[in-house]
């Protein structure tokens, strides 16, 4: 890998280049029509959420008319404000842990080789392949026993543990490109290892931090299983759990459910559209060497 290990996949590299002017041929018209067709399919979830949520229960059942009734009464069945806040807090705390722990470990494995560090690195990274369901029962009992399912912390810990292997891998890959001389110079200058990380490593790690943050945000924001089991206090539920619980209720109003769905989808979509390229970089990390 070359300098600073930025695994430079030319992701959307031609974004800024003007599209070459091409003649309009029948073939390209067909292509365009196909693209529109795919777009309609991909936009379908949004269309459903919007059109169904602007009906009252009666209007939904009869199929005619629109109103904002479902939006007005939404908070009575789903405390969206509180649940969006819960999701935000859980995401923020988990990502913070994942970043700190992953960055320091990635730095250690890449630059501060110690005895058997390669083996330990491999062990940590291979934990990426283990799905939560594989260890769900002992995990649940352990976290419950230490009393952490009563607040946010149980879920935060589980998310942090699940996100750490990938985060460690990504940071280690990233830091391998940092020249040893830079770190040695920092040590010689008396920064100490914490100082090196804070003053020298942190500033150049910003793209990797962005990648981990975006990937983990979407993963944690969208997750159901951890929030469902590791947060026992109903008032601390994240929005996905609130939606799933509402959906499994007997007298669920579909329009209200769709309104809540739309609200839960918006933050992740905003993050997604704003940081698309970091997401791609993270996904292709393993193969873009």
């Amino acid at each position: 890998m070359t300098a600073l290990a930025e695994p430079e996949v030319p992701v959307f590299a031609d974004d800024d280049a003007p599209s070459p002017k091409r003649r309009v041929t029948p073939f390209r018209v067909v292509l365009f029509a196909l693209m529109v067709g795919v777009a309609i399919v991909m936009l379908y979830p949004f269309w459903v959420m919007v059109t169904v949520s602007i009906k009252s229960e009666q209007q939904y059942l009869s199929g005619h008319g629109f109103s904002l009734d479902s939006w007005k009464t939404l908070t009575q069945v789903l405390p969206v404000g509180q649940q969006v806040l819960n999701s935000t807090v859980i995401c923020a705390m988990s990502i913070l842990v994942i970043l700190i722990v992953g960055m320091s470990a990635g730095f250690a494995f890449a630059k501060l080789r110690f005895k058997m560090s390669n083996l330990v690195f491999l062990a940590v990274v291979s934990a990426m392949m283990i799905p939560l369901q594989a260890i769900l029962m002992p995990e649940f009992v352990n976290v419950t026993k230490v009393g952490l399912t009563n607040g946010y912390f149980g879920a935060v810990l589980v998310y942090a543990a699940l996100g750490t292997p990938f985060s460690t891998f990504l940071f280690a890959t990233y830091f391998r490109g940092v020249p040893d001389e830079l770190i040695e110079a920092g040590i010689v200058d008396g920064l100490g290892y914490f100082g090196v990380v804070r003053r020298l490593i942190l500033p150049i790690a910003v793209p990797a931090i962005a990648t981990v943050t975006v990937l983990q945000f979407i993963q944690i924001w969208d997750d159901l299983l951890v929030g469902l089991l590791f947060i026992q206090d109903q008032s601390l539920r994240p929005i996905t759990v609130g939606l799933a619980a509402l959906a499994s209720g007997r007298t669920t109003s579909i329009p209200q459910l769709m309104a809540g769905s739309l609200i839960s989808a918006i933050p992740a979509m905003v993050v997604y559209l704003g940081f698309q390229r970091y997401l791609v970089r993270g996904l292709t990390m393993g193969i873009s060497k």
Partner: protein, 305 residues
């Protein structure tokens, strides 16, 4: 004199280097410790516990030792086989979850007017929770849902489907939803792969008289190999371990056990039936399957280098 002086200098620098190396090692251990601790405490130890508890009768509080016979008993449980069968059937969705995104990526790669906007639209569902996509899919497949109104608009008013409500078709509906949820990610991977392809290669092939299909097969596909492998592994892993949200909101595993996959069976057995030991055992089976997928992945990556 000069000789001994050199030896002395070497001696000093050897010590200097050694303490520096030692300090670096110590720092390395300290910096790696939190990550290792998290992974050990919340992933490694639970696997060990799961092995023990899988051989017990465990309700989450008290565990009575039974022994390895629990494993052979588990494989006599038809529900486990049904779940494994459902998992196997869902693998049929994998080629679609790769092929459709590949076609979409090829479409986008043609740079038709407005392709950047289309790209963003295609990727948008990727941001949405599978809980939400599952709820929407329910609307699509429902008795009075979109699928039936499409069918009726096509003039087939005698046909009314209820895919999610029937044991024979519920898994099909789940599989279709799964393919939809994978489209964004896989398209993104393939498009990234295509962006790394040197355009002059395509141009050269075109000059040599290769048609579009020939260019795709001989130039594009070999270049995309690693990306297709990655997408394949991601898709298989998702099929085994990421469908919980979809199943939870769409079918709850039913009708019967028609859409219960292994990961969902872990949840059902543990949290709905209170059989923590058996659930831990099912979790380990999932772990073993994932480990096999991981080994295949390593082999694939290894074969490239």
């Amino acid at each position: 004199m000069t000789v001994s002086g050199e030896v002395g200098l070497q001696h000093v620098s050897w010590w200097g280097r050694r303490t520096l190396a030692q300090r670096r090692q110590l720092a390395g251990v300290c910096f790696a410790a939190p990550a290792v601790a998290l992974v050990v405490a919340l992933i490694a130890i639970p696997i060990g516990q799961a092995v023990y508890y899988s051989m017990t009768n465990w309700d989450g509080i008290t565990a009575t030792w039974i022994g390895p016979s629990t494993w052979s008993q588990a494989f006599h449980n038809p529900t486990l086989w049904q779940a494994l069968e459902n998992n196997a059937k869902l693998l049929i969705a994998v080629p679609f979850a790769l092929g459709i995104p590949l076609a979409i990526a090829v479409l986008l790669h043609q740079r038709v007017a407005g392709w950047r906007i289309f790209r963003s639209i295609y990727f948008l569902p990727t941001a949405i929770s599978w809980v939400v996509l599952g709820l929407v899919a329910e609307q699509f497949f429902a008795y009075g849902g979109t699928l039936n109104s499409i069918i009726h608009h096509l003039g087939l008013s005698s046909v009314t489907t209820n895919l999610l409500g029937q044991e024979s078709t519920a898994l099909l509906a789940l599989g279709i939803t799964f393919v939809f949820t994978m489209i964004g990610t896989n398209t993104m991977l393939f498009l990234t792969g295509m962006a790394t392809l040197d355009p002059s290669l395509e141009e050269a092939a075109r000059v040599d008289g290769a048609g579009r299909w020939r260019i795709f097969v001989s130039v594009m596909l070999p270049h995309l190999k690693r990306f297709i492998q990655l997408a394949f592994v991601l898709t298989v892993v998702s099929a085994f371990s990421a469908l919980f949200s979809l199943i939870f909101v769409m079918t709850g595993g039913g009708p019967g056990y028609a859409t219960t996959t292994l990961e969902f069976l872990v949840y059902q057995t543990g949290f709905q039936q209170g059989q923590f030991g058996t659930a831990a055992l099912y979790g380990l089976i999932l772990f073993i399957i994932m480990a096999l997928v991981g080994i295949v992945q390593l082999r694939l990556i290894g074969s490239n280098e």
